[in-house]
Subunit: 206 residues, 2 copies
């Protein structure tokens, strides 16, 4: 059974700011075969502990808009005054290769990706409660009170979009959330629409 | 987050005869929360190693037809000259309770269940190859050459129905197949359609 004959899988992951999606993403490394993380580009300020090229590509608005005007950005959105975009680089190549590609995208960007890739699978990560989200934002210590209130209001609005996603995962315990996402990826790899050729392989391997 | 507020999940599992679905099913015990296995009723002969009430309820054709005429069988089918049916007992009760219920059903019966329960999730288990299936059937040593040939032909026809199932899982290594099915169940538990109430819970837990 040649797994690599299977179609690639595009996963869209969204979460309110402060929900721990970067930690979840980092924990997926090494747990999934042929796993690719697409790194987004943003014009927002780098926070403590973030690495350029790993968490995001941190760029100037001028650079972002130039890349955009050249058609080098797959989708983009403006969130809380900053641009976020997906570089149109190797995503299609990875998918063609049968890889599992994960995109970390804000709610608006996710909508764009879903219409560009109807076969993609979308996951919305939520905090166990609004109070735990507030605690996490305060612990991060990088935002002012005003910014935290703004993020909480945005989070609440974003969560109303969760119904448009295929899956909802609660990030209460990190290991459980990571396990749930791995299960979703494993399950989706076995979707009949992605593994129809298996049947003809089994029958022909007489 | 109260998991038990989630809707129940009905899993339909089909596989060609000799594909090891009973071993897979037995291995699922203890791995899934609130897990219920529905035991089918059949008029076929009990094989060595099978237990009445665990693998199947082994009954006479007269008893089966009487239950059927009384409307006590949810769905039934005739396969290779024998009746197979799902007792209409506690399935709905389990689902209402939020449990994960698994039904082991032949291809025709699965069709019936899918139309009775459109929200159900169907998994088709396949052998890695036809030759490995033949080996397993011969190893079982309970069927004549003629019966084995008949089973292989039926298996090949049944596998053409796999495209109508939601998922296809290859039973090459038992542990991997069990892991895949657990992943599918875990993933489906997180489907937005089954966990919409989570969002309102998160938002209201201010």
């Amino acid at each position: 059974m040649s797994e690599n004959k299977r179609k690639g899988l595009l996963i869209v992951l969204s979460a309110p700011s402060g929900c721990g999606k970067d930690t979840v993403l980092a924990s997926l490394d090494g747990k999934i075969d042929n796993f690719r993380r697409s790194v987004s580009m943003t014009t927002r300020k780098k926070r403590d502990g973030e690495t350029d090229g790993l968490d995001y590509y941190f760029v100037t608005p001028e650079y972002f808009l130039e890349r955009l005007s050249r058609g080098q950005i797959l989708e983009h959105t403006n969130y809380n005054g900053n641009y976020y975009g997906t570089p149109k680089t190797t995503v299609d190549e990875w998918l063609k290769n049968g890889d599992t590609v994960i995109l970390k995208i804000e709610v608006e960007g996710a909508k764009n990706i879903r219409s560009l890739y109807p076969d993609s699978v979308s996951i919305f990560l939520v905090p166990p409660s609004m109070s735990s989200l507030e605690k996490r934002l305060r612990k991060r210590n990088s935002d002012s009170d005003e910014e935290i209130q703004s993020r909480l209001t945005i989070a609440q609005n974003e969560m109303k979009n969760a119904v448009n996603y295929d899956y909802i995962v609660v990030n209460d315990k990190l290991e459980t959330a990571v396990e749930d996402i791995c299960a979703i990826i494993n399950a989706e790899r076995h979707r009949t629409s992605r593994s129809k050729n298996i049947i003809s392989e089994v029958i022909s391997n007489a």
